[in-house]
Symmetry: C2
Subunit: 410 residues, 2 copies
């Protein structure tokens, strides 16, 4: 473990190294060296929530160029359980993924149950608590909840979360935190952030004693929309001895507030650390995050949208989205996005994909997932190239004006 | 169009040629030369019911070695409609499939609605009529039914079926017939078979006038479980001027009766014609069909089983099926089937696939589809090689004793 030096330019731990490459304003490129290979940053991280990226095999996700996926501690804890996964050689072996793997802590999910749909709304996940179980009690020790599978009483604490993540064998574990919703007031948020810090210490203590040697740990900065709380949290987390920092909790009630909170929080984080923005993955938000010097982003949006027939397109007026299930695509011989290298765009037109998605065919979900993940991979690849070339802000402007990532890169 | 000579060894039409290669008992290999390439027989034909094979892209189906798929006239007529598909260059262009394509006539589906679940049971499709609409009236002219999509009143007649199939642009169209259920008595079956013959004439008359030049037409032999009716039907269809013959209708109430009906019907068909057995696709039934000299088989079973977590394995005691959703696969490090070249077997074990299927992940449906279709492709490839080597009955015995197709081929 390495205490993060706020001014250092490089983190070199035995668990993780982070090497910053080019810089362009606050934006930077970098390479995360994990126990399962390199991750070039800035990077978008697809979700392999329950041990698979929706509809795709692990080798296909690698084929799209992704170097890290995120596994969900909460879901995998509920089913099939960490012991079964550990017996398969950890989550890498279980799902056949040979590259880097990060696991969340389960905090977001259990507190989504407790706080209702609000946290979900913020993160845009659209999930209903009822489908995912219910929280019985939240205390200093941890959170007790009922399994959505069979109603069994389950308990997650900082130690349990780290224990599960150790069994999953991820390259990067996230500490167990309380994800505060946007309707929480300042006082609740302050108390919650303090508890998150106590939980951080317990996570690190457990990991120091019993964690896998090559597993890195990222701390999570909370503090809601309050600058002083975010600053306190950033300082606490940085000093605690983590390998990277993540921005968690509410970022406000809408996109404008989110941008403000991010602009205020990002500079508080230690320069040398890899910086992960949790649960954000819209095209313009990714560009905003990169501009602020954030390195890693995960989000359910691209795969969830695909499931509902929505694809990413160079259309800033419509949040870069096109709903293929709406009427009007009949006879449209254009691909989803001109020049996109994904199989949906290479082999099919909007007419067919729209029909297929409305017919709720699995082939559609898969093709649209492949498109959305290709789009974001191209977006981040373009961002990395633009930063290296010192023209990130022009690149971002081009994308925000409606060019595709591959056109904006030219 | 060519009148089929019952003794000829080769059909050479301008719409379709069928070349018989090796023979081994009644079994034979052959090549169907269609407007979209060759189909080596005996062949299993996967269903692309609504314009896609479940969960797979067209190019992936080709990658499995399949040379023909079957599109469903009824479903595509209801949605998205033949005009939209024709505008996309026919079903080939619509779905991006460049190889041979056969379309059924819609008869099976509309009569399943009329006769209830029984026809479905026979064919093992497990569909409920209610999900698929309802039949309003059956008459000499055709069948009127309500769309399962929007309740709209729709009409299919022999002419409409051929018209739709012409618009779909399939390489082989099937004539519109009544698919009699197994509970129909002799008298009903006799009358129904006569109507099927009148409909055959109307189909061919329409096709002669307005059908696509390169589209072949297969007739369907009905007659239920009654030898004299099957003989009459086989004679009628053979003399009518078709490019191939299919065996349709009920084959009895169980596997034993099915084998009897097949053994009695197959020799009635003209030797030189390509012979299609409709709706049959279990491992042992395919081998029995091949042994009787049948050439082409289509069936929903392999993809439907995959959707429900059931995979094909060399286990004759259990109908060559393994239910991955049942308990007992936890920690099982074996692939579904040793030596299987599919990605599910090459990259994953039963432990993971069982978990994934129980979690209802799309990735599981896809992987299990890939496995089941690979298994049947290997089965038929092995059958073709065995016939060519004059050892088909040894091959069939090996498979029926529990060897995999690839082991049985050695």
């Amino acid at each position: 473990m390495c205490k993060i030096d706020r001014t250092a330019m490089r983190i070199d731990g035995n668990r993780l190294s982070f090497e910053i490459g080019a810089r362009d304003g606050a934006a930077r490129t970098g390479v995360l060296h994990t126990a399962h290979g390199e991750v070039r940053t800035p990077a978008f991280i697809p979700l392999a929530t329950k041990g698979t990226v929706r509809g795709l095999e692990a080798r296909e996700v690698a084929g799209l160029g992704y170097e890290m996926v995120l596994g969900n501690t909460y879901h995998l804890f509920v089913s099939p359980g960490q012991d079964r996964i550990a017996a398969a050689g950890g989550l890498h072996g279980f799902m056949g993924w040979e590259r880097a793997l990060i696991t969340d802590s389960g905090g977001f999910q259990v507190f989504s149950l407790a706080h209702g749909g609000v946290a979900n709304e913020i993160k845009g996940s659209g999930r209903k608590g009822g489908e995912h179980g219910s929280v019985v009690s939240i205390g200093e020790e941890g959170v007790r909840f009922r399994s959505y599978r069979d109603g069994a009483s389950l308990f997650i604490s900082p130690e349990v979360s780290m224990q599960v993540q150790a069994a999953l064998g991820s390259d990067i574990a996230l500490v167990f935190d309380e994800c505060t919703p946007f309707h929480a007031d300042r006082e609740y948020t302050a108390r919650s952030t303090e508890r998150t810090h106590r939980w951080l210490d317990r996570c690190l203590a457990w990991h120091e004693r019993e964690g896998p040697e090559r597993q890195a740990v990222f701390g999570i900065v909370q503090g809601g929309v309050h600058e002083d709380l975010r600053r306190e949290s950033a300082d606490y987390v940085s000093a605690a001895g983590v390998d990277g920092v993540a921005i968690g909790g509410t970022l406000g009630r809408d996109k404008d507030e989110m941008r403000e909170v991010l602009a205020m929080t990002a500079p508080l984080l230690p320069e040398a650390a890899p910086k992960h923005l949790l649960g954000i993955g819209e095209v313009d938000d990714l560009l905003a995050g990169v501009a602020l010097g954030l390195d890693v982003f995960d989000c359910a949006v691209p795969t969830r949208l695909a499931r509902h027939g929505v694809v990413l397109v160079p259309d800033p007026q419509n949040r870069f989205r096109l709903d293929l299930r709406k009427a009007g695509h009949e006879g449209d011989r254009d691909p989803i996005a001109d020049g996109c290298p994904c199989p949906a765009c290479q082999n099919h037109d909007r007419d067919y994909l729209s029909y297929l998605s409305r017919a709720e065919e699995l082939t559609a979900v898969r093709l649209l997932c492949l498109h959305n993940l290709t789009y974001l991979q191209e977006l981040m690849k373009g961002a990395r190239a633009a930063i290296a070339a010192g023209c990130f802000s022009a690149y971002a402007s081009h994308v925000e004006e409606g060019r595709t990532p591959w056109d904006a890169s030219r």
